[in-house]
């Protein structure tokens, strides 16, 4: 071995170099397109930390949950204000609005082959409350607790159950919350057979599967692959394709190459530049949907300058919305100046603000800071957030405001934001469930502004004390007349637009690019309503 290394001649060395080059570039097998019965999706899913619907709350995990688990009701992806029974055949609400009775479809089965009955539904909802992981609040806001949930969510027959709330909420609110992943139905028998130390199967289900959805989870390898397969026991139309394989591809340029080459059927995280470049490619098409995610700047009211009403308003006139909309968020967002994203009940589309430096200057003068001031902004170093922040820095300067950008990693800026030690923060908020209360709850509600408050919504994080608005938000969730409820949200948004320390920027549009042989792809408004089981290939 040693000898051969040392006895290479110069001529041999050249040959070795050439053969090495050939080995690198040489005749290797040509690549096949993706298999006909398999959908390959390139997706950045490093946010997934669990596959348990009682805990999963991350965007990518949501999509897996939506495809692999069923729930009592779902909303219509084409019109999210319409609900339809998923496992539920029918439901009624008692006259006092507190008791919801459900009847299940007959003959339902889990992917495991176990029968799906009201016992499983009751167990799943109770389990989510008992485990009390992050998304449990979606259910516990109806008054369920560890102590009372067994009395409030009850089986009344083999296929019937009742859910009893503590107040008479708007029925649409309760039902909308039941479409969330946390209300997904798990296989009681299977989950309990894997139970350790009374954990209700929590440790096991984190990386396993116990559902009844159109697709079943075969494997999740963190940051590598999520493999789904057709569930032949599914009650409804069977999934069109035998397999859906999600591959974790973080880099947008890499996703684009995979798509162009045909090694991915769908890619999910392209940049506006990639999308523009792909427009000319006849083999590739795109689809987009407005998402329930809004982006904003927020001004910490602990900062005495930022707490002045005129200063708050001045900032709203210091963003060049039109330029941002035309360039930085082209194809991936639409300018939107309200806390409710379009698609939710009562969402306003009024966008009164535009770049007006003179108006901002006048407001600053009125606030007693005619020459501007210095302020910092915490920013995640990702696009388009970075571009928007830099553009804002330029426009703010024109009114004399010197904005210092503090760049950071996502978790780092968020940690600071949650501790209320920022001046300005640029953030985003996605709807947790498909009901206006999800955003009203965080933007327009702040029951306790103290540092040790029990609940710390976005209004709290910016130290915005709003007893009146909080009352309105609390009332809206109890309003059972849909028209009145809508009007209440419209009123709250008008108030918020004018007075809040939030400079609302835009609503996200999700875009996916796909090979032209892919059919039936529709991105849902929430992460858990993008249904891959409806996708087929020509």
């Amino acid at each position: 071995m040693k000898h051969s290394l040392f006895s290479i001649t110069r001529r041999g060395l050249g040959a070795a170099a050439i053969s090495m080059l050939l080995a690198t570039l040489g005749a290797l097998p040509a690549l096949a397109a993706t298999p006909k019965d398999t959908l390959v999706v390139a997706f950045a899913f490093d946010d997934i930390i669990t596959m348990d619907p009682a805990e999963a709350f991350e965007i990518s995990a949501g999509e897996i949950m939506g495809n692999t688990y069923d729930r009592l009701v779902r909303f219509d992806v084409a019109d999210p204000s319409k609900l339809y029974g998923d496992l539920a055949k029918a439901w009624t609400v008692s006259p006092d609005g507190k008791t919801f009775s459900f009847e299940l479809k007959p003959g339902l089965k889990f992917a495991s082959g176990n029968a799906l009955t009201a016992e499983d539904v009751v167990f799943s909802l109770q389990r989510a409350v008992l485990l009390d992981k992050t998304p449990a609040f979606i259910l516990t806001q109806f008054g369920f607790s560890k102590d009372n949930v067994k009395d409030r969510i009850k089986q009344t027959g083999p296929l019937t159950l009742t859910i009893e709330t503590d107040k008479s909420f708007a029925p649409s609110f309760v039902l909308n919350c039941l479409t969330a992943n946390v209300a997904a139905i798990v296989d009681k028998k299977l989950v309990l057979s894997k139970e350790q130390n009374g954990d209700l199967g929590y440790a096991w289900l984190k990386t396993n599967y116990a559902g009844s959805g159109p697709l079943k989870l075969r494997e999740w390898r963190a940051n590598e692959i999520v493999a789904l397969e057709r569930n032949d026991s599914y009650y409804g139309d069977k999934a069109k394709l035998a397999r859906v394989i999600y591959r974790h591809v973080k880099e947008a340029a890499t996703q684009r190459l995979l798509l162009e080459k045909g090694d991915a059927d769908i890619v999910r995280n392209l940049t506006p530049q990639d999308l523009a470049a792909l427009a000319a490619n006849k083999d590739i098409r795109t689809t987009s949907t407005p998402k329930g995610t809004v982006y904003y700047f927020s001004l910490n009211q602990k900062n005495p300058t930022l707490a002045k009403a005129e200063v708050r308003e001045a900032f709203k006139w210091l963003v060049d919305y039109a330029a941002i909309g035309d360039t930085l968020i082209k194809n991936i967002g639409v300018v939107h100046q309200n806390f409710l994203p379009v698609g939710l009940l009562g969402a306003s589309t009024e966008n009164p603000y535009k770049l007006d430096v003179e108006k901002a200057k006048a407001l600053l003068a009125k606030a007693g800071v005619p020459n501007g001031f210095k302020v910092t902004i915490d920013m995640r170093t990702v696009q388009p957030v970075q571009g928007i922040t830099e553009a804002f820095q330029q426009t703010a300067k024109r009114a004399g405001i010197d904005v210092e950008i503090l760049p950071g990693d996502g978790k780092q800026t968020l940690t600071k934001y949650r501790a209320r030690t920022h001046d300005i923060y640029i953030g985003q908020w996605g709807a947790d469930y498909w009901d206006p209360h999800t955003n009203a709850d965080t933007f327009a509600r702040n029951p306790d502004n103290a540092d040790d408050a029990k609940s710390k919504p976005l209004a709290w994080r910016n130290s915005w004390a709003i007893p009146e608005l909080t009352k309105k938000a609390d009332a809206a969730v109890l309003e059972r007349d849909p028209a009145k409820r809508r009007a209440m949200y419209e009123e709250m948004q008008a108030d918020f637009r004018k007075n809040s320390p939030f400079v609302m920027l835009y609503q996200q549009t999700e875009v996916a690019a796909f090979r032209s042989d892919v059919e039936g792809l529709k991105l849902g408004p929430t992460s858990d309503s993008t249904y891959m089981f409806k996708v087929s290939k020509k």
């Binding site: 170099a17 690549l31 096949a32 609040f137 591959r247 978790k411």
Partner: protein, 342 residues
């Protein structure tokens, strides 16, 4: 007696190295301004859930106590569970390390296999064409970001020419056709006799490995050149020429052999560097290796995963250092004599 002393001292040094490594990583991990609870419960969790998780993780205990608990668990072979993947950390590392190992090994084979002869050549023909080429390659290797070069390589060799497989370790078609035994795809496919899958895995491996190989080649060839120039200026080379030895023999048997001694360290450390996993290469090539795992864990303050991966990386460094020391003994009779005298 004396031998056991040497071994004892050696073990003590290793133990202290590990402890130091763990302590530094642990405390850095605790002072970075990221709340580890955030990675687990996310941004939406109610306050009581956050407090409960903080307690479950033991984060409310004093730092030294947290460290003590961690180290005693590690001594019992328990490296904890990653909060991001929900798997035991060692299971994650068993999954990600083979991907990096495969890449790094082929990378260093290319890097050393081409880099050393090229460096020798450049030294012998100092100022000649080959020397200029080596210089330019070295310059590019130092200055061009691997990220960019990786993408360009993908565009040319994968997208345009179709010579190699794309990002990822293997085509989706083969994903569930073989049972992973070692996690090294080349080995697993070869053992199973799945030659088509083997070819596919190789076609995916060759581009990122060449890229890593190129970057270590750039370094190794420069170092080889300078070591060789040093050796070729020595008197024994003149003596050998005077004796009438052939130039080939002088270069390859005498000069290179002497240059090999420091070169082994250079190569071993390059290899160790590659085995840590290259975050950027792994990102561009969607390669599920240790580098990505470590970075992702660090960004989320997933300390069990970070510490576990650090132990592995640390062990690689210690191991390869040891190996290069042993190789010194083989290559340099003087160190051998010294060890024997001891």
């Amino acid at each position: 007696m004396r031998a056991s002393n040497v071994i004892g001292r050696f073990l003590l040094v290793i133990l202290l190295t590990y402890l130091g490594l763990l302590a530094v990583t642990f405390f850095i991990g605790r002072v970075i301004p990221i709340d580890p609870v955030l990675a687990i419960v996310g941004d939406r969790a109610p306050e009581h859930v956050i407090l409960r998780v903080r307690e479950e993780l033991g984060l409310n205990k004093p730092l030294w106590e947290q460290f003590y608990i961690y180290v005693s668990k590690v001594l019992h072979g328990d490296f904890g569970t990653s909060v991001l993947t929900s798997n035991p950390v060692m299971q994650d590392i068993r999954r990600t390390f083979p991907a990096t190992f495969e890449l790094a090994t082929l990378g260093i084979v290319i890097g050393a296999g081409v880099g050393v002869p090229l460096g020798v050549w450049a030294a012998v023909r100092r100022g000649g064409l080959v020397d200029q080429i080596v210089r330019v390659m070295g310059l590019i290797g130092y200055s061009v970001p691997i990220f960019w070069l990786g993408l360009m390589a993908l565009v040319v060799f994968y997208a345009r020419l179709g010579w190699v497989g794309g990002p990822g370790r293997i085509d989706v078609v083969y994903e569930y056709t073989l049972v992973p035994v070692t996690g090294l795809l080349l080995l697993d496919t070869a053992r199973a006799g799945e030659w088509q899958a083997f070819g596919n895995a190789l076609s995916h491996l060759v581009l990122p490995a060449s890229l890593l190989g190129y970057f270590s080649l750039a370094y190794i060839s420069r170092m080889t050149r300078s070591f060789m120039l040093n050796e070729l200026a020595q008197e024994y080379v003149i003596a050998a020429r005077a004796k009438g030895l052939s130039e080939t023999r002088i270069i390859w048997r005498h000069a290179l052999r002497n240059a090999m001694v420091p070169l082994v360290t250079v190569i071993a450390l390059s290899y160790a560097g590659l085995l840590e996993g290259s975050v950027l290469t792994e990102t561009v090539f969607a390669w599920p290796g240790l580098g990505l795992y470590l970075t992702n864990s660090l960004q989320n303050a997933d300390m069990n995963a970070v510490l576990g991966a650090t132990i592995v990386v640390g062990s690689i460094f210690i191991g390869l250092n040891l190996l290069s020391d042993l190789l010194y003994n083989v290559l340099d009779p003087r160190t051998r004599a010294m060890t024997q005298a001891q």
